[in-house]
C-alpha cells in the first residue's frame, strides 16, 4: 500500500541504476540510520548496546568481508577468524608504536595488513578450486592461529599473551579502554560500519563487483571474456580480508576491550561467520546484517530470554540447544531458501509492491 513506485519516474540512467531506486527505500534506510544513530544511543540500556548491538555490528562487518570472497566471488574461505586476528594484532602493534595517531585511523589501516596477508593466502586460489581451496584457507587459519600464540612480538611480549587495549580518545572522549562507555564505543563502531558498507556497496555495484560475480558464475567463461583471473581473485581476497581485519580490530578494541586471540579468532569463529553469510544470503550485503542479527540474537535469547519467561536453562544446556538450533536453522534455510534471508526480504518487497494483487 505504502510501498509503491507508481509515479516515480526515472529520467536518467544513474537514477535507474541507483542502489535505492525507490523513494520509500531511501526513507526506510534513513529511518534505520536515524534509529541506529540517535534512538538506540539515547534509549538503549548499556546492556542492550554492549550485548546486542556491538556484537551485531562487528559480526555484520566480518560477514560482509566473508561474503565478498565467498558470496560474490565464489571462493570458499574458512580463514575468516584468522584474518580478523591479523587485523586485531596489526591495530595493536600500530597503536603501540604510534600512540598519538587516532585509534580510528589505525583500526581502518589495520585492514591493509590483513588484506596483504589475505592476498598472500589467496594465491593458491588460481590453481585450486572449490573444496580444495577451502582446505587451503584452513592452512591460513591454523598457521596464523599458531603465530598469534607463538610469536610474542605480536602481543608485545606481555606475560598473558593477550591483547591489552590501551585507552585512546577522540576529541577528548575515551573510545577504547576501560573508561569508554558502551554508547561511545557503539557510535564509533556504527560510523565505521556505515562507512565500510557504503564503500562496499559502491565497489560491488561497479566494475570490480561485476568482475567478482563473473568469476563466481564461471571462472573459465570470465577468463574468456577478458577478465584476468589472478588479479580478480586476489582483489577479492584482499578486499575480503580488509573487511575482516577491520572487523577483528573493532572486535578487540571496541567490543572485547582486550583478550586472548586464540579464543576470539579460532576456527569456530570462522565457521560462525560462514553460517551468518549462508543464513543471511550469499552474495548480498543486506544479508550480512540479517545473518549477523539472527545468529547473534538467538544465543542471547536462549541465554537471557528463556529464564525471563520462567524457563530456566543451565548455561551448558543453553549452549547445547544453541548448537542444535543453529544447525537445524542452517539445514532448514538451505532446504527452504538456499539464497538465505536476503532472498526472503526481496520476495517480501516484491509482494508489497504488487499488493493486494499477486502479480
Amino acid at each position: 500500500m505504502f510501498y509503491r513506485e507508481a509515479g516515480q519516474y526515472k529520467k536518467t540512467y544513474s537514477a535507474d541504476m541507483a542502489v535505492f531506486p525507490i523513494l520509500q527505500d531511501r526513507i526506510g534506510i534513513g529511518l534505520i540510520l536515524a534509529t541506529a544513530a540517535i534512538i538506540i544511543p539515547i534509549f538503549g540500556s548499556n546492556f542492550f548496546i554492549s550485548t546486542v548491538m556491538i556484537p551485531f555490528l562487528v559480526f555484520s562487518l566480518a560477514a560482509m568481508g566473508l561474503n565478498i570472497v565467498t558470496g560474490y566471488t565464489g571462493l570458499i574461505s574458512l580463514g575468516t577468524g584468522a584474518f580478523m586476528g591479523v587485523g586485531a594484532f596489526a591495530c595493536y602493534k600500530l597503536t603501540t608504536y604510534f600512540p598519538d595517531v587516532n585509534i580510528i585511523i589505525w583500526i581502518l589501516v589495520s585492514g591493509v595488513f590483513s588484506a596483504a596477508i589475505g592476498a598472500l593466502f589467496g594465491l593458491p586460489s588460481l590453481r585450486i578450486k572449490g573444496f580444495y581451496l577451502a582446505v587451503a584457507t584452513l592452512a591460513a587459519q591454523f598457521f596464523l592461529e599458531w603465530c598469534f600464540v607463538r610469536v610474542p612480538w605480536l602481543f608485545n611480549y606481555n606475560a598473558s599473551g593477550a591483547i591489552e587495549v590501551p585507552q585512546r580518545t577522540l576529541f577528548g572522549v575515551a573510545i577504547t579502554g576501560a573508561n569508554a562507555t558502551p554508547t561511545t564505543r557503539y557510535l564509533v563502531l556504527l560510523g565505521i560500519v556505515v562507512l565500510m558498507t557504503w564503500v562496499a556497496s559502491n565497489i560491488l555495484h561497479g566494475r570490480i563487483g561485476r568482475t567478482f560475480m563473473a568469476v563466481r558464475d564461471m571462472d573459465i567463461a570470465a577468463e574468456l571474456m577478458g577478465i584476468r583471473l589472478l588479479p580478480a581473485k586476489l582483489t577479492a581476497f584482499a578486499m575480503s580480508s580488509f573487511y575482516c581485519g577491520v572487523a577483528g580490530a573493532c572486535m578487540m578494541f571496541l567490543w572485547y576491550g582486550g583478550g586472548e586471540a586464540s579464543d576470539a579468532f579460532n576456527i569456530n569463529q570462522s565457521f560462525n561467520i560462514l553460517f551468518m553469510v549462508i543464513i543471511g544470503g550469499l552474495g548480498s550485503l543486506i544479508g550480512c546484517f540479517f545473518g549477523a542479527a539472527l545468529l547473534n540474537i538467538v544465543p542471547i535469547i536462549l541465554k537471557f530470554g528463556l529464564p525471563a519467561i520462567g524457563l530456566p536453562l543451565a548455561g551448558a544446556t543453553a549452549e547445547h540447544i544453541n548448537h542444535l538450533f543453529v544447525g537445524s536453522l542452517i539445514i532448514f534455510f538451505l532446504i527452504v531458501e538456499p539464497h538465505g534471508l536476503a532472498r526472503l526480504w526481496q520476495i517480501t518487497k516484491q509482494k508489497l509492491r504488487t499488493w493486494p494483487f499477486p502479480y
Binding site: I76, A316, V326, L329
Partner: protein, 318 residues
C-alpha cells in the same frame, strides 16, 4: 649458514644418530596416519557415491564413540552397545538421506557442503544434550581390545609399541580390505560404483539413488564408529576430536576426493610427515607446528597436482 645447517642437515644427523627414536617417531606417525586415513575414508565413501563433501564425518566419529560409551554407562553390555550404536548410525544415515539430502537434490555442491555443516552442529547439539559435553573414557577392556605396551629392543635402543595402536592398524587394514571386497564383489558394491560413475546412468538402469545414499552414509557411519573406538582408546572421547578430524581434510586433498587408496596413502604421508616435522623441525620455531604442517604439506602437493595424488583429472568445460 647456521640456520640452513639446522634446517637441512642437523635433523638428518639426529635421525642417523638415534635410529630407535626415528623408528618410534615413524611408528607414532604411522598410527595417527592410519586414524586420519580412516576418517578420510568416510569422506571418500560419501563423496564418491553422492558428490557430497561430508563435513560432518569428523563429528560422526565423535558421535558414534559417545553413543557407544554413553550406552555402556547406562548399563548396557558392551556387545549390545556396539549393536545399538550401529542401529543409531543406521537411523542417522536414513534420517540424513530423508531430511537433508533428498530435498537438496540438484542443488550446487556448495549448498550440500553447507548442509553438512549444519548437520555437524545438530550432531554436536544432540550429542552434548544427551551425553553431556565432558570427555569420556573409551570402554577398551569391555570391547576386548588389548592394553599396555610392548618394548622391543632394536637398533641400539628400545622402541615402545602400544598394543592398542597395533590393534588399530590391524583392524583398519581388515576394514579396508573388507570395504574393497564389498565394493568389488557384491551387488550393492557394484551399484555404489555405478552411482559414483554417473548418477543418471545408474538411475536409468534401475538403481535407487536414495537407497544407495542411505547405504553409503551407513557405511561411513560404521567407519566412523570404528574410528571413534580406536581414537577414543588413544585419548578420550570428546568433542575436541572434532578439530583433529579436520586433519582428514589435508589427507583428502593429498589423496584426491574420489580415491580410497589415495585416502590411505595420504593419511600415512600426513601422519608420518607431521610427526617427523614436529619432532625434528618443530623445536626450531618453538614447537606446536603439528597443528598446521599437515595443511602446508597438502598445499604443496596441490600446487603441483590440483586434483590430488590419485584423484581423477579435473576437466573443465564452458
Amino acid at each position: 649458514m647456521d640456520l640452513l645447517f639446522k634446517i637441512f642437515i642437523d635433523p638428518f644427523l639426529q635421525m642417523g644418530a638415534m635410529p630407535d627414536l626415528l623408528v618410534q617417531t615413524l611408528w607414532e606417525g604411522l598410527v595417527s596416519g592410519v586414524l586420519y586415513a580412516l576418517i578420510a575414508l568416510g569422506f571418500v565413501l560419501i563423496f564418491k557415491a553422492s558428490g557430497v563433501f561430508n563435513f560432518a564425518q569428523g563429528i560422526m566419529v565423535v558421535f558414534a564413540g559417545l553413543t557407544l560409551v554413553g550406552l555402556h554407562e547406562k548399563g548396557v553390555p558392551a556387545w549390545l552397545a556396539v549393536l545399538l550404536t550401529l542401529g543409531v548410525m543406521l537411523a542417522l544415515a536414513v534420517a540424513v538421506e530423508r531430511v537433508v539430502l533428498r530435498p537438496l537434490v540438484n542443488q550446487p555442491d556448495i549448498i550440500l557442503f553447507m548442509a553438512t555443516f549444519g548437520l555437524t552442529y545438530v550432531l554436536i547439539g544432540i550429542g552434548e544434550f544427551i551425553f553431556g559435553g565432558e570427555p569420556k573414557q573409551m570402554i577398551t577392556e569391555e570391547l576386548g581390545l588389548p592394553r599396555g605396551a610392548i618394548d622391543v629392543a632394536m637398533l641400539g635402543g628400545r622402541v615402545t609399541f602400544q598394543k592398542i595402536d597395533i590393534a588399530a592398524a590391524v583392524i583398519a587394514s581388515i576394514m579396508i580390505a573388507a570395504l574393497a571386497v564389498f565394493f568389488q564383489y557384491t551387488r550393492i558394491g557394484r551399484a555404489l560404483r555405478a552411482v559414483a560413475d554417473s548418477h543418471k546412468a545408474a538411475l536409468s538402469v534401475g538403481i535407487s539413488l536414495n537407497q544407495i545414499w542411505a547405504i553409503v552414509w551407513f557405511a561411513a557411519g560404521i567407519v566412523a564408529l570404528i574410528t571413534g573406538i580406536m581414537w577414543g582408546a588413544r585419548s578420550d572421547v570428546s568433542f575436541a576430536l572434532q578439530t583433529i578430524a579436520l586433519k582428514a581434510l589435508p589427507v583428502l586433498i593429498l589423496g584426491g576426493f574420489t580415491s580410497i587408496p589415495g585416502a590411505i596413502v595420504g593419511g600415512l604421508i600426513i601422519g608420518i610427515g607431521e610427526k617427523l616435522a614436529e619432532f625434528y623441525w618443530g623445536p626450531l620455531v618453538g614447537g606446536g607446528i603439528e597443528n598446521w604442517i599437515a595443511y602446508v604439506i597438502a598445499l604443496g602437493f596441490l600446487m603441483v597436482r590440483p586434483q590430488g595424488l590419485f584423484g581423477d583429472k579435473i576437466i573443465e568445460r564452458i
